[in-house]
Amino acid sequence: MVNFKMNDRELSVSNGTTILKAAEQAGIPIPHLCYLKDINEIAACRMCMVEVEGTNRLVPACNTEVAEGMVIHTNSPRVRQARKTNLRLILSQHNSNCTVCVRSGNCELQRLSHDLNIHYQPYQVCPERSNVDLSTPIVREASKCIKCMRCVQVCDKVQGMHIWDVAGTGSRTTVDVSYNRYLKNTACTFCGQCVTHCPTGALTVRDDTNRVLRALADPEITTVVQVAPAVRVAWAEAFGLSPRQATTGRMVAALKRIGFDYVFDTNFAADLTIMEEGSEFIQRFTHRGKYRWPMFTSCCPGWVRFLKTQYPSYTENLSTAKSPQQMFGAVAKSYFADKKDINPKKLFVVSIMPCSAKKAEAELPTMRNAFGDPDVDAVLTTREMCRLFRSDCIVPADLEEAEFDSPLGSGTGAAVIFGTTGGVMDAALRSAYYLVTGKNPDPDAFTEVRGSKPWKEATFSIPGAGDVKVAVVSGLANTRKLMEAVDSGKADYDFVEVMACPGGCAGGGGQPIHDGVEMASSRGSQLWKLDAKALIRFSHENPDVQELYHAYLKKPLGEKSHHLLHTDHDAWDALPDKA
């Protein structure tokens, strides 16, 4: 332990604690902008400068360790002056057009400027020139970048993709796509982790709400919306609802207020995915020699793009099942359209996703129906959905709960856990067990794949099929480690679930942003609770899915399924123009 004094309080912390952490523990806030625990502790923004007696310069709190006998002042006149000056310097290169910025109200820079009482700017303001490219789901506006380097670090350390880098030199140093490339020409998975870790509006996910509003305004068009599992445990954060009010039912009610003709649940498609993917796994597992191992899940588009660019020879290991989003779109524009006698061309399918990569997935040339129309017409993130609510002045707390519509609105407990790491594997194992043995396992038989550990391994015995070695991984840097282990023969699995974002979709790049707080774990446990409370916890028991097979698809992996629900991962190029 080291003893020190902070703002006249006698305190002690364990050895090696930084001044910032020590202050946090003592309940003394120190402002900071670039700092991101364990990921970006580079002392770049100089907002956290404090005065240490006996040191002639100010020191950064975020990466200076407390030493025995230190006397620290976090609000001395010199510190105040330094913070304000440095913040004004940052603002002199920032496009402070806050009124039309998507991060207004949830921006660390804006909050700090407000908190530090900065209301005039003595310096000449000259933001960097922006060249905005809307062809990718991730959009960078250079004029808002404060060069905190968080995006560079998240992409390097958490996702291991090295898409962003420092560019230029000297006072013109900025952040840009690495190796002077353009984003659309890189292996960027569009996971959006850089966006959710950006303190300002410099990195955003492309806003597609206007396309949805245009469809809603067209009387000729029937609008259908699906909501991914992880959205329901995150959307209410943006409205500050209490856990009691933050229900799926209120979200459904709000979507109906917006004017969607049908509000459906991606959980339905998740159950359908399990039927197809689980059957596919059993098919592969019982004909081992015909396939390359392990089999990989295919529901995460960030992961699929990662595999296709980083380990292309493993593309054949991916399940051919489309993701739930795409299965939903395909079923909506066929089975549902038939059933309701709607011209599929007049059907507009919107999905609400916790994800930015889903926007790119829906645009893939392979994700189209027989008429060449996209299965899913527009993808909105959780944040965009919340913005739609807000712009319609909807107060979710005041709404009566509503139910999803039928027939694509039902989902089991096995489906709702698709939104968190381990969930797809857990759900798949529950049904695979049933498909082989004809009996349901204990729905909680596979708990080893749950939890927020980044790389989990387990072996389960399915009577009649044998031991199934599974692995679950989330976060692309972890995924690369797993792939290296698989590739070098150090790891040997039958079935691997991968989610590109740490913690899975619950921590996706389209989810509400809370600066400096990782929400994946707490949202994930809410999903596991929804599963535990669900009346039906096996995908194969979803009555609407059973009806779909009975009336339309006939059987998993059948002829219709093949056309609607499966895809050829080799039929599109993940690096279109490597210019």
Binding site: Q153, A167, R172
Partner: protein, 616 residues
């Protein structure tokens, strides 16, 4: 004129001028500490802005032209203009060169023209793509400039904590010769030390010397399990032994073939023991060999055993034969008795065969480090007078200036601006004098050194019983030419930057035999690179790392303070023996000097990217 003014006054600089003078010195040091990889266009602009401030303001092209040049280059950096701007910059600069009234404008515009030619692609990238080709890939200046990439801030912080053995361990991760380098490294690491911005470069080599002198015997790390692969190293100098060391650590079976009686290469047969004590060298080599490296000395590959036989016997070969042949001056009388090459003299000394120069006049031809080594050795071998004859000026010598000054202090005559003309011999064919033609220093050549030209002065006769030629070394390629190894113009072996030989499976080469005569640390770096690439070639990916944890720095002390320089033994005393000249730092000096390190591994870019390479 003011009526109270005296007719003449004594000039005393005002306070402002004195401070500006100080700023000039600071700026000079700051430029010297520029990190590699800066944007050349940005630097050109900023140099130009300095020139702009210097203009006297009288003539139009300098006063206005430089300002407009500066405006245009700034626009380029801001990505505003079209490609046509380059034409306008060039034309404007040319007019300034043609029409400015004095050097202030002419030279400034010339800098811009040089840049337009020298880094036009950088200009174009800014204009066409609004991007910069400049990149700061390795931000720790000392580490970036060390050919072997030694973790310098790491070991300095360990020395500062008194953990000398850990410092040696950390150095060995990148360089198996901490002791040799502590004594004789040319320390390129110090050239751009960021501490230059505050006062002066840290005495890095001095601190390394303190570490190795206070570390006792540090055992070598454990080897990786045996791989069953075998590698032969041809040439047991610093490069060959470095490759041998890392390959042995990786678990490969290593055999070294050495032509001379002892290992060490130029560290033994080129560098005199008063710079690198023999015992220190022997101990270091013994420590490397403790990894179980097989050694065959006095084996001349090409004569005693063929290159092809080695290729058959081993999975991989590394050629590190150095540059051990001498170059001739080509002047009349060079084949006289008493004319010897520096290589020959130093090789004998390396094997303890000391010639006796007692009472002789010795002339040394050359101005490099080897010339200084033989000059100072000749003094120690009893010569009455040693004259080092060099055709340019003292500051143009390639020898390190402290070597030249050391030689002068020991009584050597340095006769500059004299080009050797011929050697005069007596009837017995023995040299009696060196004739030299006085020179006048002339125009600057492309490398930035002024060229000597014949002066209109009569030649000078320098009486000499022994004449030592030290004008460079070449590579002994005899025995390799027939094997298919490609020899480049200049007589060096052709190998790429990965040390691999083109069109020759499993054969690698590096060090002096590839680069031409260079430094110990560059040979070590080549050996290290070869070890990594040979390991890959053999199908492995062993990682070399150190278990040592580098202390976290607290705030660094930025108060300007003098650099602790090495002290030397008294010149009168040291010139009579071959004992080490340089004295190590005291505890007090080491503590103070090590605290001057700015820890660039941690502050600035270091804690963001590239501060530390943990393994390779």
């Amino acid at each position: 004129m003011d009526s109270n003014m005296s007719r003449l006054e004594v000039k005393t600089p005002g306070q402002a001028q004195a401070v500006v003078e100080q700023l000039y010195r600071n700026m000079e040091r700051r430029i010297a500490a520029s990190p590699p990889g800066l944007c050349p266009v940005d630097m050109a602009l900023n140099f130009l802005n300095l020139c702009q401030a210097q203009t006297c303001g009288k003539c139009v092209p300098c006063r206005i032209g430089l300002t407009q040049l500066s405006n245009m280059i700034r626009e380029v950096l801001d990505g505003e203009p079209s490609i046509g701007i380059l034409r306008r910059i060039e034309n404007t600069a040319q007019v300034i060169v043609d029409t400015a009234d004095c050097a202030i404008g002419i030279d400034a515009a010339n800098l811009v023209l040089m840049g337009l030619k020298g880094f036009r692609d950088d200009y174009e990238e800014h204009i066409l793509h609004h991007r910069c080709l400049g990149s700061l890939r390795n931000p720790v200046p000392c580490v970036a400039l060390c050919p072997a990439g030694v973790d310098i801030p790491g070991y300095i912080s360990l020395v500062n904590e008194g953990r000398c053995a850990d410092a040696v361990r950390l150095i060995r991760k990148d360089n198996p010769f901490p002791t040799a380098c502590a004594y004789i490294c040319e320390h390129p690491c110090e050239a751009r030390c960021r501490r230059n911005m505050v006062d002066d470069a840290v005495n890095i080599r001095g601190l390394k010397r303190y570490a190795v002198d206070h570390a006792d015997n540090v055992p070598q790390p454990k080897k990786a399990p045996a791989t069953g692969k075998s590698v032969a190293i041809i040439g047991g100098g610093p490069g060959g032994l470095s490759a041998a060391y890392y390959l042995a650590l990786m678990g490969h079976k290593v055999t070294v073939y050495e032509k001379q009686k002892h290992l060490g290469g130029m560290m033994r047969y080129g560098i005199p023991s008063y710079r690198l004590p023999r015992q220190k060298l022997d101990d270091e080599i013994a420590s490397i060999l403790s990894l179980g490296i097989e050694v065959h000395t006095e084996v001349d590959v090409g004569t005693d055993i063929t290159f092809d036989a080695l290729k058959q016997e081993y999975d991989c070969l590394y050629l590190s034969i150095g540059a051990h042949t001498d170059k001739k001056t080509g002047i009349e009388g060079e084949d006289s008795e008493g004319v010897i090459s520096a290589v020959e003299l130093l090789r004998g000394i390396g094997d303890d065969e000391m010639p006796d120069f007692t009472g002789q006049n010795v002339a040394v031809i050359g101005g490099g480090n080897v010339a200084m080594d033989v000059t100072r050795s000749a003094i120690r071998l009893g010569a009455a007078k040693v004259t080092c004859v060099y055709r340019r000026r003292q500051e143009d010598m390639t020898a390190q200036q402290e070597e030249v000054e050391g030689a002068i202090a020991e009584g050597a005559e340095v006769l500059t601006l004299h080009a050797p003309l011929k050697i005069e011999a007596n009837e017995a064919g023995h040299a009696v004098a060196l004739w030299a033609q006085p020179q006048i220093i002339g125009e600057i050549d492309k490398q930035g050194r002024p060229r000597p030209n014949t002066a209109a002065v009569e030649p000078l006769r320098i009486p000499a019983d022994t004449i030592i030629v030290a004008i460079g070394q070449g590579i002994e390629t005899h025995g390799f030419e027939q094997t298919g190894i490609k020899i480049q113009r200049g007589g060096t072996l052709l190998a790429d930057s990965s040390t691999q030989l083109p069109d020759m499976e499993g054969v690698f080469a590096g060090g002096d035999c590839v680069t031409g005569p260079a430094t110990v640390i560059r040979a070590i770096a080549a050996g290290k690179a070869a070890a990594a690439n040979i390991d890959e070639y053999l199908g492995f990916h062993h990682e070399i790392k150190s278990e040592v944890t580098v202390p976290t720095p607290r705030c660094t002390d930025l108060r300007p303070r003098g650099r602790v320089d090495a002290t030397e033994r008294d010149a009168c005393e040291r010139k009579g023996d071959f004992q080490c000249i340089e004295c190590g730092m005291t505890d007090e000096e080491s503590a103070q000097e090590s605290s001057r390190c700015l820890r660039c591994d941690r502050f600035g870019y270091g804690n963001f990217k590239g501060g530390r390479v943990e393994k390779w």
